[in-house]
């Protein structure tokens, strides 16, 4: 699962577009999703999905699989908006909430629209491309460095984790619930010991390469295209306008 998004992002058709262009498009629509009624939300979901599938050519199977990740939470949360609880004179009343359906639909639509923006960005932009740009937003160098080291190690550990799990499964370590709990604890301990060892070796390696307290990366080769950024923002304005004029529609 951890490789699913990251590996695809590196091979994405739009990988070499400047991160700022993609951020303007996805981020603008993401922010807009907070303020627009249902019509605007559907437009955002439709537009982002079309751009992702037809523009950036993300395979539909991958896109829908990633979009399905937050669905369980979204639906459970929305379902609890439909129900209303109240407590009167010693009795617990459970019933349908007034206007619950409308707010639940609104919530699901907003969450889907927002999730599609986020997923569009992460499927077209590898982490290594946007992370160095954080320095421009005055995120402290300590934090950016920490993120770079973390990002590098995530995959090392994930691989180690799957090896450990395979070894335990091969030795019937997951046979009973009791065994599984013990196995999981042992995996954690093992991973921890090895990660400390790893940390020590990384530190040595960095020091040997004259590490002075900041990891410098080559800047992105291309400049961000101003027309694309302006176009994205214009698009947001158009959707905001459509949302505004359809606000009075009975089901908006």
């Amino acid at each position: 699962m951890i490789h699913l998004i990251d590996c695809y992002a590196y091979t994405s058709l739009w990988r070499h577009r400047h991160p700022a262009e993609k951020a303007a498009f996805a981020g603008g629509l993401l922010l807009l999703s907070f303020f627009t009624p249902l019509t605007g939300l559907f437009l955002i979901l439709l537009l982002v999905s079309l751009v992702a599938l037809l523009g950036a050519r993300i395979p539909a199977a991958l896109y829908s699989r990633v979009l399905a990740v937050p669905m369980a939470f979204i639906l459970i949360g929305a379902a609890s908006l439909l129900v209303s609880l109240s407590y009167h004179s010693g009795h617990l009343h459970i019933g349908l909430a007034e206007g619950g359906l409308k707010s639940a639909v609104q919530l699901v639509a907003r969450a889907l629209a927002a999730a599609s923006c986020l997923i569009f960005f992460s499927l077209t932009t590898p982490t290594a491309d946007w992370m160095p740009l954080l320095r421009k937003f005055h995120i402290p160098a300590v934090v950016v460095d920490l993120m770079l080291v973390t990002y590098r190690l995530l995959f090392v550990f994930a691989e180690r984790l799957s090896t450990l799990q395979q070894a335990q499964a091969a030795r019937l370590g997951n046979l009973t619930v009791r065994n599984r709990l013990r196995s999981t604890g042992l995996i954690g301990a093992n991973l921890f010991i090895r990660s400390l060892d790893r940390a020590r070796r990384i530190e040595l390696g960095m020091e040997a390469r004259c590490y002075t307290g900041e990891i410098t990366c080559l800047p992105f080769e291309r400049k961000a295209s101003i027309p694309i950024i302006c176009g994205s923002l214009l698009l947001c304005l158009v959707i905001a306008w459509i949302g505004f004029i359809t606000k009075r529609w009975p089901y908006a």
Binding site: F73, A97, A111, L196
Partner: protein
């Protein structure tokens, strides 16, 4: 339990960011201090956040069959201290949002508050409080991580209830509703996380006690085994 992208209304999403930012800033300050005093701690901190991330990818035996996983932040707070966890936890949440589509950027403030601030502080406080009362190592580790996980879940439910109060009974009714809905998955996870953390810490204590003492490079975070 992560609140997904776009789930909170704008005022709540922004509000939780405002609440979490001071904690993150304080965390960055203590990070800087640690690195100034011990330059070699830098790689250790990076590995710890990767460790917490991978820990949260561990599948647990679950009753409902849904994907349940530990938060790992309770253990992180016991090992590395809660103020650093505010930063490490937020980095983990950011990567979870972007690499796993789990959580979100606008809801990162709210998630950081429940998972990187409330959970770690509860776990850390309980662990050291219980240890001071001469409760056994295993039992204090179990209670601290279980209740730390439960505190995260109660906090997330409260955040959701504040954002979506019940039409009839307001915040209280909605709070009960969200607690009940997520209890099915969260209570078994909290217990499992407690048990696993105890096994993990005891394994470390018996095979690698020097590693745990070595963690004293981080202020307050060290284990006095």
């Amino acid at each position: 339990m992560h609140i997904m992208e776009g789930y909170l209304p704008v005022a709540h999403a922004a509000g939780w960011w405002v609440v979490s930012l001071p904690f993150m800033a304080a965390g960055v300050r203590s990070l800087k201090r640690i690195i100034m005093d011990h330059p070699s701690a830098r790689a250790l901190l990076g590995t710890s956040s990767a460790f917490v991330f991978v820990l949260s990818a561990l599948k647990l035996p679950s009753v409902t069959g849904s994907s349940s996983h530990p938060t790992g932040t309770g253990l992180g707070a016991i090992l590395f201290g809660p103020s650093v966890m505010a930063v490490l936890g937020s980095i983990v949440l950011l990567f979870q949002a972007l690499l796993l589509a789990h959580g979100g950027l606008t809801t990162l403030g709210a998630n950081a508050f429940s998972m990187a601030i409330v959970g770690p502080w509860v776990a850390f406080g309980l662990f050291h409080g219980l240890r001071r009362c001469r409760v056994s190592f295993s039992f204090s580790a179990f209670l601290a991580t279980t209740l730390g996980n439960l505190a995260t879940y109660v906090c997330t439910s409260a955040q959701l209830a504040l954002a979506f109060p019940d039409a009839a009974s307001g915040f209280a009714g909605s709070f009960v509703k969200f607690l009940a809905v997520f209890a099915i998955t969260q209570i078994p996870i909290a217990l499992a996380e407690g048990i696993i953390t105890v096994i993990l810490l005891n394994t470390l204590r018996s095979y690698n006690p020097e590693e745990l003492r070595g963690l004293d490079v981080l202020p307050k975070g060290g284990l006095s085994t």
